[in-house]
Each structure stands twice: as structure tokens, then as C-alpha cells.
């Protein structure tokens, strides 16, 4: 099948359209794309940081259980903290969460 002939009349009629993209469209889209790319970039960094933080806490807890029986009275100063955590575990989780959020927020500010 042969292709139909092009029509200058149809092209002229189509070119008469009144709607079009705003003049600042390229700049706005480029800025938005850049902002979203940066957000994605920071998101991955934050996840890596959170992972490292959790790993560090895990190592500390593991170390605590491994070496705590050998220590004699070295960790008595932690007793009030441990008692508080035992009596108010959700409060401890909340404080830890706030600390993590604050740290990530601070890091994001320093990155941008």
C-alpha cells in the first residue's frame, strides 16, 4: 500500500492551534527533574546510612552480651538507663527514633 500524500492544507490547519506549552516549560521541567533526581539520590544515601547505623547498634548489642559477663562493675553506670528502658521500652524506642530522624535531617541539610 502506498503512503497517502502529505497535505499542506492539513498542516496549515493543524498549525493554527491556539494551545501550546508555556514558554518557561523547559526550565520548569528541568528544575523539577533535577529536584526529583536529587531526592532519589539522597534517599539512597539515607538508606545506606540507616543500614550502617543499625549494623553499628547490632555490633554494640552483640558486644554487650559477649563481654558483659566478663566485666565486673564496669557498666554499673548504665543500670539506671537499662532500668528505664525496661520500664518504658516505647519511650526508649521513641527517643532513638527522634535521634535518627534528627541525624538524617542534619545530614540532608548539609548535603543541599
Amino acid at each position: 500500500m502506498t503512503a497517502p500524500g502529505r497535505s499542506a492544507a492539513i498542516a496549515k490547519a493543524l498549525a493554527m492551534q491556539t494551545h501550546e506549552l508555556p514558554a518557561n516549560f523547559p526550565a520548569e521541567v528541568a528544575a523539577l527533574a533535577q529536584a526529583r533526581a536529587s531526592a532519589r539520590h539522597v534517599g539512597l544515601n539515607d538508606l545506606a546510612l540507616l543500614g550502617a547505623f543499625v549494623l553499628m547498634i547490632g555490633i554494640c548489642i552483640a558486644g554487650w552480651f559477649i563481654f558483659e559477663p566478663q566485666a565486673s562493675g564496669a557498666a554499673e553506670w548504665l543500670d539506671p538507663v537499662v532500668r528505664a528502658m525496661n520500664s518504658q521500652p516505647w519511650l526508649a524506642v521513641g527517643v532513638a527514633g527522634v535521634a535518627i530522624v534528627q541525624m538524617l535531617t542534619f545530614r540532608r541539610r548539609t548535603n543541599t
Binding site: 500500500m1 497517502p4 499542506a8 490547519a13 516549560f25 521541567v29
Partner: protein, 199 residues
């Protein structure tokens, strides 16, 4: 994948460099890319959805997706076709959500019968010689269904080849030609109903 006229040999020589510049986040590179292809995107999206506000949002979505997925572009087709394909798929999905579009395949249609629709005795150029007649023609084009309206725009206004349109829309060449013949036939009928041309 369409080869030949859309193959890597026919790409603009600076296409790889400009894609690399965007991926390397060179200042102004993506903005320049948007500026160069915004008209194509607008013609595809606006002609399909018909609503200028929706079309602006969808064009923005198109270029945000282009920016996000440009690292996946493998230069197997021209960048223009790839961006057009993104715009087409976003507009089509938008219409499908609204159940407003059907992509009809005309594969295997009787070619002789189809070409008779073209009706070469009908002089479209003469029928839209003055401004008023051209307005009638534009209104007739606007009244076409979404997909043929977009195909007519790409073929007659953007002057893309059938192969390029096929690359963007994933339709067969025959289906595209069939849409174009039928659209021209429909325009002729529409102009006759309006009394612009003699019946």
C-alpha cells in the same frame, strides 16, 4: 524494533553526546533537550487527550520519565522516536484510564478498497484555501477520534515518515496508512457536511 530508516546509522551525530551530557548532569543539557522535543511531545499528547491542561501535565510527566529512564536508552532508535514513544504511552494510558481510546488495527485490510478512500478527485488544498475554510478544516481534524487525530498531526504537521510513526506507536505500517486514508476520507465528508466543498 524498526530498522532501516530508524537505525543507528541515521541518528544525529551529536545524539550520544547530548544524552551523555544529560546523564552527567551538565547544566542546561536537559533543559535544551526538553526545548528541542517539547513540540513533538505536545503534538502527540495534546492531539490524543484534547484537553490543554491535561496535556501540559502529561508532557511534564513525559519529560520527567525521560529524565528518570534516559540511562536505559540504548541508541537502537533515534532519541526523537524514543521520546515520542514515552509521550504516546503516557497519553494512551491516560485515555485508557478514562476509557476514551481504542487503538484499532487494520492489518490485512483490502488495499484497493482502502486507497479508493483517498479520492484523488477531491482537492483538499483548494477546499481550504482561505482562512475561513482552513478553520473549518481544523475543526474537522479536531473532531477526529484521538488516535487518528494524533497520527494525522505526526504525518502532516511533524512530517514524520510512516516508519518513524510506527516506531513511536508500535502500530504496523498498514494500520497507520489505513488510519491516514480513513482520516482524509472523514475530513472530506466533514467539509462536505459543512458546505465547504461541493457534495
Amino acid at each position: 524494533m524498526h530498522k532501516g530508516p530508524l537505525g543507528p546509522m541515521n541518528q544525529e551525530p551529536d545524539e550520544q553526546a547530548r544524552v551523555r551530557a544529560v546523564l552527567d548532569r551538565k547544566p542546561g543539557a536537559f533543559e535544551a533537550l526538553v526545548r528541542d522535543y517539547q513540540k513533538l511531545c505536545w503534538h502527540i499528547v495534546f492531539r490524543m487527550v484534547g484537553n490543554p491542561d491535561d496535556a501540559r501535565d502529561l508532557c511534564q510527566e513525559t519529560f520527567l520519565r525521560v529524565h528518570r529512564q534516559l540511562h536505559q536508552f540504548r541508541f537502537e532508535c533515534p532519541l526523537k522516536s524514543w521520546i515520542g514513544r514515552v509521550a504516546y504511552s503516557i497519553a494512551l494510558r491516560h485515555l485508557e484510564r478514562r476509557r476514551a481510546a481504542r487503538v484499532i488495527s487494520f492489518d490485512g485490510e483490502d488495499e484497493a478498497a482502502l486507497e479508493s478512500l483517498a479520492d484523488e478527485s477531491f482537492d483538499l488544498e483548494a477546499a481550504s484555501a482561505d482562512e475561513e475554510q482552513a478553520v473549518h478544516l481544523r475543526e474537522a481534524v479536531d473532531s477526529l477520534p484521538a488516535v487518528p487525530r494524533m497520527l494525522v498531526t505526526l504525518y502532516h504537521l511533524e512530517e514524520l515518515s510512516i516508519a518513524e510513526i510506527a516506531s513511536i506507536t508500535s502500530m504496523s505500517d498498514g494500520t497507520i496508512k489505513s488510519h491516514l486514508f480513513r482520516a482524509r476520507h472523514s475530513l472530506r465528508d466533514s467539509l462536505r457536511r459543512r458546505g465547504v466543498v461541493e457534495p
